[in-house]
Amino acid sequence: MGGAVGLAAAAQFISAQGLAAIDAHVHTLRAHAVAGLAAITGVRVLAPHAREAALVSFVAKDAHPHDIGTLLDERGIAVRTGHHCAQPLLDQLVQGPTTRASFAIYNTHEEVDRLIEAVAYAVKALR
């Protein structure tokens, strides 16, 4: 029962915001993240030109996503790490696990700055 009520509220929220506005927001966050992460030495952003995405995946030389994830977790940042339930595909395309940050309507540019800073720290610490 609660799930149905929640879903209805979510649908109403999205209608009120407007899909275009939500897309614009998360795409801008993504662009901000891509630019910041790509500038970190040793970090390779995957599919940087996927402008319609609301997430960014990256790999870092000598820094395993599991370890990056734990260091980001300690800074209050939740990312997904590993093969994202798609190991055969990732092994073909990337040859390994990745770190992935996704953006939603409630995320802010300040949070993206924190993400970039934390990844820069993690990559340096793990080198």
């Binding site: 395993h64 599991h66 370890d67």
Partner: protein, 110 residues
């Protein structure tokens, strides 16, 4: 994971591969802990270490030697498998099974 057995004794052990820092450290510590020891000790150590990491046993209640340095991993549930992967491969090697070990269960779903 490669093992050289002399009867019940682990004459030599080595692992190769790339993984996260916890997995590499745990696997390395594992090889140090059991090289030259017998299979039963290795099995006991695996059982105790696993119990500590899954929270079944308190690290104060069991002797796992230097492996106690990794006991804090139990506070990071998503990293427990990292610390246990090498041991899982070791158990697979000890029971003499061919090919790759799997951590998948037989149940459907995630």
């Amino acid at each position: 994971m490669e093992l050289e057995l002399d009867g019940e004794q682990i004459k030599d052990i080595a692992f190769s591969g790339q993984a996260c820092a916890i997995c590499m450290a745990s696997s390395s510590m594992m090889t140090e802990a059991i090289k030259g020891k017998d299979l039963q000790l290795a099995k006991n150590l695996q059982a105790h270490f696993r119990a500590v990491l899954t929270g079944e046993t308190d690290p104060d209640d069991v002797d796992i030697g230097k492996l106690v340095a990794l006991s804090a991993v139990r506070r990071y549930p998503s990293r427990i498998k990292c610390a246990l992967l090498g041991w899982h491969a070791l158990m697979h090697a000890i029971t003499g099974q061919d090919g790759a070990a799997t951590t998948e269960t037989t149940q459907a779903g995630a």
